[in-house]
Amino acid sequence: MIINMTVNGEARNAVVAGSESLLTTLREELGLPGSKNACEQGECGSCTVILDGALVTSCLVMSADCEDSEITTVEGLSTDRELHAVQRALLDAGAVQCGFCTPGFVVAAAHLFEENRHPSSETIREALSGNICRCTGYGAILRGLEALAQEPS
């Protein structure tokens, strides 16, 4: 079936097979492999996207349910010239090891900073509690985002 959705501001018609997940559609049909597949059961957060304003794991969204939806993936957060503030903050803090979890953390953190420009450390931890880093790089991730939260808006 063909599903019309707006992905990163662009109207897209995706050919969707059966009950496939939005994660599969993004990666295999729409050429957006930034969202990662690590668990397919909502546990790791590496596939996190923003769907109609809500932070969700795209592996648990059925693509067929996305007709007329607006989706932002990690690819939609930066431009060729400029990184998103969250990406810059993580880079500055050396918060990327193997990088597999990074897109999910970036989208979750971008969603948080969109709502709250100066979150407390507690709020940052809470907002990232659905994202797992197998390299256990949490310290640097938190330091980077705490530094960003301190920057004047």
Binding site: G42, V56, T57, C59, D65
Partner: protein, 268 residues
């Protein structure tokens, strides 16, 4: 696969009645796990995510489509506490109370609250209209409920007098993103009657009536009575051993958790 996008509950129920084998999809946080692992391969899915009338929240009628994210902010203290423990921000943004009720997992974190509040589950079909099923009739076994093939869960309906003194907590292996090993909800009404409901310690959410009777009306129970209360809770639950925990631990933890919540209620 066919995908239906009803605009209202009425329309959703009509589609379900015409094809009773169709699968209802709300937030997808239970169903899509089944799909991704090949345990479910629906050939007709009815998407409820954008059925607005299902997402209506009132203190005495919580629409099936209300998300955990919304319930985190609700005025029922223990339901908000339960909502805050569900999964992660991502899961809470998508997952709904109707999905929790539909899945009817023994570990569903919304269920002990519904049991303590003495909720009725409201279901709707085009042929029989609205039907209210009390929580203890609705949950019939492990992942089993009394929903008929042509019905849609529309809401959890609460009595007017849900006690405002209420506490929920759960025990699991870590503090975020964890399925309950034991969960519990305790309520104390204005007359001092105590209600104690537990999850993940029986095929369905349960009330422990003997333990409730022991401490009801006691505003300042002795240490001996509190100990007896915990022992009675441990004896009344019917847990099993599985990959998450053992029967013995679940019994012990049930008593400890219920006592802790009772003391919190008595301190209010």
């Amino acid at each position: 696969m066919e995908f239906s996008r009803p605009a209202s509950t009425e329309e959703a129920a009509a589609i379900k009645a015409a094809d009773p084998g169709a699968t209802i999809l709300a937030g997808g946080t239970d169903l899509m796990v089944e799909v991704n692992f090949g345990h479910a391969s629906p050939d007709h899915v009815i998407g409820l995510r954008r059925v607005d009338d299902l997402a209506d929240y009132q203190d005495t009628r919580i629409g099936a489509g209300v998300t955990w994210a919304r319930l985190e902010e609700c005025s029922h203290r223990a339901l908000a506490q339960a909502a805050r423990t569900v999964g992660s921000p991502q899961i809470r943004a998508a997952g709904t109370i109707g999905g929790n009720i539909g899945t009817a997992s023994p570990a569903g974190d919304g269920l002990p609250w519904l049991a303590a509040a003495e909720a009725e589950i409201e279901v709707y079909s085009t042929t029989r209209g609205t039907r209210l099923v009390s929580w203890d009739q609705f949950f019939t076994g492990v992942k089993q409920n009394a929903l008929a093939d042509d019905e849609v869960i529309t809401a959890a309906v609460l009595p007017e007098n849900v006690p405002s003194v209420q506490e929920f907590a759960k025990i699991g292996q870590r503090s975020a993103m964890v399925i309950s090993t034991v969960s519990a909800c305790v309520m104390r009404d204005d007359e001092g009657s105590i209600r104690v409901a537990l999850g993940a310690v029986a095929p369905t959410p349960i009330r422990v009536r003997q333990a409730e009777a022991l401490v009801s009306g006691q505003s300042n129970p002795s240490e001996a009575l509190l100990e007896e209360f915990a022992r009675t809770v441990s004896a009344e639950v019917k847990p099993i051993t599985d990959h998450r925990s053992t029967e013995a631990y679940r019994r012990h933890a049930s008593g400890v958790l219920a006592r802790r919540l009772l003391e919190r209620c008595l301190a209010q």
